[in-house]
Amino acid sequence: MESKSYTTGSRDNANRNLEGSKTLMASHFLRALFRIQQTSTTRSSFAGRRRRIRRAAYASMAYSAGTRRAWSRALLRKLRSRARLRFPRRLSRAARPQRGDTDQAQVLRKLVPGGPGMDYCKLLEETADYIRCLTTQVRLMQTVMDSISS
């Protein structure tokens, strides 16, 4: 039986921070998940439950990164305002053309939370971190799924 925990795999010191935030992510997501299960009734819709789980996924991502990153701050703002979590969204602010900016960068801005407000360099930086966090969250959800269904 494979017992690969999703938290293993980071080796060097620079990833200590990542380990801590992975734990934070897991505990937040699990608590949200079980709360959703307990408060879901037979009357509540499947779609509603799925929306809440999806929202919990992005919430645990945002809380694990906290206020340290621009993308997580943007996500937290969205979550707190109870706005619909949608990617990509229409650009609410016109981004000034930046050094190295391309059409592709504009596309990327719509996919990363807080993207429209970032200059090109910030966008590249934030995107790398956002992807790391996203993949961690996806792996977490897969692990949860595997263990519940086994």
Binding site: S3, S5, Y6, T7, A26, L30, L33, F34, I36, Q37, Q38, S40, F46, R49, R50, R51, I53, R54, A57, Y58, F87, P97, Q98, R99, G100, D101, T102, Q104, A105, V107, L108, L111, V112, Y120, C121, L124, E125, T127, A128, Y130, I131, R132, L134, T135, Q137, V138, M141, Q142, T143, V144, M145, D146, S147, I148, S149, S150
Partner: protein, 93 residues
């Protein structure tokens, strides 16, 4: 490596950001993309990295949606305490 430079920033004298810095950030981004999409050892244009990045993020968002749906089904059909125990057990291993 592509060095297409939009006219818009060539005239900006206030910018202190070098091409080297940008290249460095682009390669760091390339490093978080899965090997299946872009081999890390390859020297790829920034445009290609950005394109693959966008594709990858979109696929990750889709995965979150898909996993949310499957988790929703699972939670509905599973008895609460056994699910909790199973999950906690596996994550602590």
């Amino acid at each position: 490596m592509s060095s297409r430079r939009p006219r818009s920033w060539q005239s900006s004298s206030a910018s202190r950001i070098t091409d080297e810095q940008i290249n460095d950030l682009v390669s760091k981004l390339q490093a978080v993309l899965p090997e299946a999409r872009i081999r890390r050892s390859d020297r790829v244009s920034a445009a290609k990295v950005l394109q693959e990045t966008c594709n990858y993020i979109r696929s990750l968002h889709r995965e979150v949606d898909d996993l949310s749906e499957r988790l929703s089904e699972l939670l509905a059909s599973t008895e609460s305490s056994s699910a909790q125990a199973a999950v906690i057990r596996s994550l602590l291993m």
